[in-house]
């Protein structure tokens, strides 16, 4: 059984945020939604928690932490959804059925990693660009400035497909499907570019190795910070990384069992 996982090498991340841009372009996320978000940790000032005297100027340091949705094995967001609009696939990816979501925002409260975003704006006013106006000045709508002239946007043709959920949920597989562009009033989140993964698998590509089948953030990163692959395959890149280097996960004490592993130390340790 395939179990997707992601390994993020924090020793290499330089905070360029190309992954954030790539995610926004690939998924046409709305204004204010950053399915991939890069946190910046600066020196702590004395009143902040975690203040360390030795880390003040000139010993200050900047650290960056990219955070997509961690696609937890025990997702609290799935537990609290009142209509089962969000669900976890067998391969580990947590998805949202935009046709089912009622926009109660309970999942946003329940996510310990602030990975979910509520779509408060309509397609026409809030989206990065509006593909419906393809061929015209599509950059004039949404949050990109009007002076950019006609350049057809990149639109991943697989983005509008429906991808299947769990067959064993009540209602059957057709209820648990996701995909398409989320419209106003629902909650959205990072899907590990499941549309790329699914269509890549159909073409016999390997997600994590072949760029077409890998999440956009992993593909776009210029310094190979983000690795993606099958955790159940001991020969995959991610399995080898977590077997050979020390890793942490975010907030393990909450019992969510996230599938994103952060490497903190360089070199092979074990």
């Amino acid at each position: 059984m395939v179990r997707w996982g992601m390994v993020i090498d924090l020793t290499r991340c330089m905070g360029c945020r190309t992954c954030m841009v790539a995610c926004k372009v690939e998924n046409n996320t709305q204004e204010g939604a950053f399915w991939m978000f890069v946190y910046k940790e600066e020196e702590r000032l004395p009143w902040m928690p975690g203040f360390e005297p030795g880390r003040q100027f000139p010993n200050a340091n900047l650290e960056f932490m990219p955070k997509p949705c961690l696609q937890c094995d025990e997702p609290p967001c799935v537990q609290v959804c009142p209509v089962k609009a969000t669900f976890r696939r067998e391969d580990g990816i947590v998805l949202i059925n935009y046709d089912h979501c009622i926009g109660c925002k309970y999942c946003i409260q329940a996510c310990p990693y602030a990975s979910r975003y509520f779509n408060g704006k309509s397609k026409e006013t809030g989206y990065y660009y509006n593909w419906a106006e393809e061929g015209t000045n599509v950059y004039g709508t949404g949050s990109v400035s009007e002076h950019i002239t006609q350049v057809p946007p990149y639109q991943n043709p697989d983005h509008d497909q429906k991808y299947m959920g769990r067959a064993d949920y009540p209602g059957g597989p057709t209820m648990y499907e996701s995909g398409g562009i989320a419209y106003k009033g629902v909650t959205t989140k990072c899907t590990w570019c499941v549309h790329r993964i699914d269509s890549g698998l159909k073409k016999d590509l390997t997600p994590g190795i072949d760029r077409e089948a890998t999440p956009a953030c992993a593909v776009a990163c210029p310094v190979n910070v983000i690795h993606f692959g099958d955790l159940d395959d001991p020969e995959s890149n991610v399995s080898k990384l977590i077997a050979s280097r020390n890793y942490v996960v975010l907030k393990p004490e909450l019992g969510t069992k996230p599938r994103v592993y952060y490497l903190l130390e360089r070199g092979v340790i074990k």
Binding site: Y39, P76, Q79, P82, C101, I102, G103
Partner: protein, 381 residues
């Protein structure tokens, strides 16, 4: 730049909702006092409290529907049930309680309907506006079925009583079970919610009864009800201070940020909740002359209600001001839509109360059920 996913998404509307459900739970418990706990002194309040509970129950979904991104899909809670979700449980309890209250109201008020319908048939008596309605509802009722009716009410109250507090405890659980939010995740939150709910519901019943109740035994009834409210307030304060003391003593990583929230954006509402909403009403209730007077009950009840609303604000909004992955504080300002929506929801509840208070003969409940206390229980017509 702060991750926009950290911004508060539940606002004033979601703070109003547990305020309304709290009144439902509290008012229902007051209504149950006479039947379940056999405190006959509260019988005049039974009908009124049930009306208040039911009216606020009907108004409870309004702030939620206004806050939902897709309210037209709200019925999906029933079509694709998700019992692990506290919000879904609200939907199930809501329907159950609405049906239960309608049936209980039918049995509780039916003897009073019969009396009114009978009084309307006496030649020369003024035609009551709802005489025909009363007659319809009382059709088939005879004085000998009074005991059956009272038994039915007792059974329904016995069913409803374990359901009404959970209707609000789960609202507390809705927040308390979110392990992602440190300021919410505490087992004490659920119980503290219930206690403040009982205080607010009972205070509202006392408030309305003080205005429209019968003069004869008003002081006695108000006095005992306000004493009950006082004890609940004391328990509520105890839970609150236990919670804060634990957080302050254990002083985990985010405590320094939590103190900034309590001393910053929440300072006013916190002082309001403790001093104005709990301490001052307790002082008023402790004075017998004040707690039995209409004016005293009015002031104390209004302060309690405002204090409980401040408590809901502190929990719902305050808990979201602490960021999840960053050592930072967030801000929240209610939008005009949320302000009007909250006022509208509470206003609808009061309008429904007013309508029912006018239509339903809640004052006659006592006379129709009263039995002399003693060995011979006589059923009066």
């Amino acid at each position: 730049m702060i991750n926009p996913a950290e911004e508060p998404v539940w606002g004033l509307l979601i703070a109003t909702y547990p305020f309304i459900t709290g009144i439902v739970a509290g008012a229902f418990i007051v209504s149950a006092l006479a039947h379940i706990f056999n405190k006959r002194q509260y019988l005049p309040l039974t009908g009124l409290a049930l009306i208040i509970a039911f009216s606020f129950l009907l108004a409870a979904p309004i702030p939620l529907a206004l806050d939902l991104g897709r309210p037209e899909r709200a019925f999906l809670i029933y079509l694709t049930p998700s019992p692990s979700s506290a919000i879904a449980v609200f939907g199930y309890l809501l329907i159950t309680l609405i049906v239960l209250y309608i049936v209980e109201a039918f049995f509780l008020f039916r003897p009073a309907y019969a009396k009114k319908a009978q009084a309307a048939t006496i030649p020369g008596s003024p035609r009551h506006l709802f005489g025909a309605l009363y007659g319809l509802l009382a059709r088939g009722y005879s004085p000998s079925s009074l005991t059956r009716h009272e038994k039915a009410v007792k059974i329904l109250v016995a069913i409803g009583l374990p359901l009404a507090p959970p209707f609000h405890v789960y609202a507390g659980f809705l927040f308390a079970s979110v392990k992602a939010r440190e300021m919410w995740a505490s087992p004490l939150t659920s119980i503290a919610f219930l206690l403040s709910a009982i205080a607010s519901g009972a205070a509202l019943v006392a408030l309305i009864y003080a205005i429209i109740g019968r003069k004869e035994r008003k002081t006695e009834i108000l006095g005992s009800l306000m004493v009950l409210v006082g004890w609940v307030l004391i328990l509520d304060l105890a839970f609150f201070f236990t919670d804060i003391s634990y957080l302050a003593y254990t002083a985990t990583e985010s405590w320094s940020l939590i103190t900034q929230i309590y001393s910053g954006p929440l300072l006013g509402s916190l002082i309001f909740q403790i001093l104005v909403g709990s301490a001052i009403p307790l002082i008023l209730i402790a004075i017998p002359r004040v707690r039995t007077s209409t004016a005293g009950v009015l002031v104390a009840s209004l302060l309690i209600l405002a204090g409980v609303f401040a408590y809901r604000w502190n929990v719902v909004i305050g808990g979201q001001l602490l960021a999840k992955l960053e050592a930072t504080l967030l801000t929240y300002t209610p939008t005009p839509f949320e302000i009007y929506g909250s006022i509208f929801s509470v206003a609808v509840a009061f309008i429904i109360v007013a309508i029912f208070v006018y239509v339903v003969p809640w004052r006659e409940v006592e006379a129709s059920y009263i039995k002399p206390i003693g060995r011979e229980a006589e059923v009066r017509k």
